[in-house]
Subunit: 232 residues, 2 copies
DNA sequence: TTCTTATTTCACTATCTAGCGAGTTAATGA
DNA sequence: TCATTAACTCGCTAGATAGTGAAATAAGAA
């Protein structure tokens, strides 16, 4: 948890300076929140990491909760819109006839690519969102707020890909998908130890390679059964 | 978050009294930790809920971290041993020829039954373990410490059920399973809102009905593909 | 009873916490 | 150039925090 000393350059306009400082604060907060959670981090911890007085965080973000929200919102908007776009494209490309696996690839691979290519900041955000997702009360509300549209878009595609299935099955299937995804993003290191180093927590590519196919088969299994229960 | 006033009965031996107080403290801590996490709860919060002076918690558990560990360990031991026993029984009952779905049913249904039948305390523990599972650093270590044996027992069965598959695929499959399970245990209420009330976070029975089948199909999908890649 | 031990509260400390308001420095724009 | 505004630091406060050690209380044993 050592301080990252970026030389705070001198010749910048106020607007540039403000933007840069804001980003630095968000990055530092993101790093720390992703590791210790909202309550496990103090404003002083964050300020120290930026190399700035702690009251500056109040100046920029009013209070701790608003800082946390800003950290989460910054990248949530990006991933949400990005996936929405890809789902729309996929829908068009298949002429309104999506498959389960195709829709899941669009949804999951798009997101995983972001964490693969996005650098350290995106990986920290990923771990943070995993914690938020499993936090009752305010955590779930944050997820609702930022991701309901794109998730419902995915679910719309899945319903069309499985027209005879019960709606509950689709929702529970999505629940399994997102649970698995969130644990992936958490990068806890558990799978590394469990597998004796064969698998690695941070290996999003390995997950990308398997996840959509795995989950698609799951959907077909629980939806097919429901279909046969009805007809039989 | 109102205080639960159990009348602290008078005529008990010291040993009984100690056991009872210990349980009350663990229950209160479990309740609060499951909702606000380790850092979101103070010893005073817990003490208030039990109706006891906050320094009594130091007397019983030395410090906050040890209290947290005790909360987690209490039920982790129960669920771990219980599942281990059921997996052993299943292994014997199938004459050493397990199926993926059978092993998953033994592993998952046994656990879900505990949360269905176990009352409020078990549900709180479940939510707590979901948070621990997605917490890097110490969270993953706690999971390793308590669950490695039973998880490796399950994985052993899965390997035998899928003898030609790559080991990594089994481990990643397990990773998906546990991610989905943990989100279920978190009971965040997200699925309720998302589905417009059609599904409910606390409906472990609905999950039990679908999960093993869903995941088994997933395993077969990623392992089958790997097999055909090799042979083809 | 009385001595001993376990349980529980109490008073206190050292440290940390978020945040306010005034002061300082530096950029901006008239 | 100079007044204004923005960016940032400093000193401070009021309250919370975990934990210590001594005292009070109750239970158990003699």
């Amino acid at each position: 948890m050592s301080t990252v000393e970026k030389p705070r350059s001198k010749r910048l306009s106020k607007a540039e300076r403000r933007a840069e400082t804001t980003e630095q604060i968000l990055d530092a907060a993101e790093y720390l929140f992703s590791r210790h959670g909202l309550y496990g981090v103090t404003l002083k911890d964050v300020a120290k990491r930026v190399g700035v007085h702690h009251t500056l965080l109040n100046y920029y973000f009013d209070d701790k909760q608003k800082l946390f929200d800003a950290v989460f919102a910054r990248r949530a908007a990006v991933t949400s819109e990005r996936r929405m776009k890809v789902l729309n494209d996929y829908d068009k490309a298949t002429g309104g006839k999506p498959t389960v696996e195709g829709a899941l690839h669009a949804f999951l691979d798009t997101d995983l690519d972001l964490y693969i290519e996005g650098g350290e900041g995106w990986k920290n955000y990923a771990a943070l969102s995993a914690q938020v997702a499993n936090t009752p009360e305010w955590g779930a509300k944050m997820m609702d707020q930022h991701f309901d549209p794109v998730v419902l878009r995915l679910i719309g595609l899945l319903k069309r890909a499985l027209p005879d299935s019960a709606e509950e099955d689709i929702f529970w299937g999505y629940h399994f998908v997102t649970g698995a995804l969130m644990l992936t993003l958490a990068r806890t290191g558990r799978i590394d130890k469990l597998s004796g180093g064969l698998c690695q927590s941070g290996d999003y590519a390995a997950v990308k390679q398997r996840m959509a196919r795995f989950m698609a088969a799951g959907f077909h299994a629980i939806c097919a059964e429901r279909r046969s229960e009805r007809s039989g």
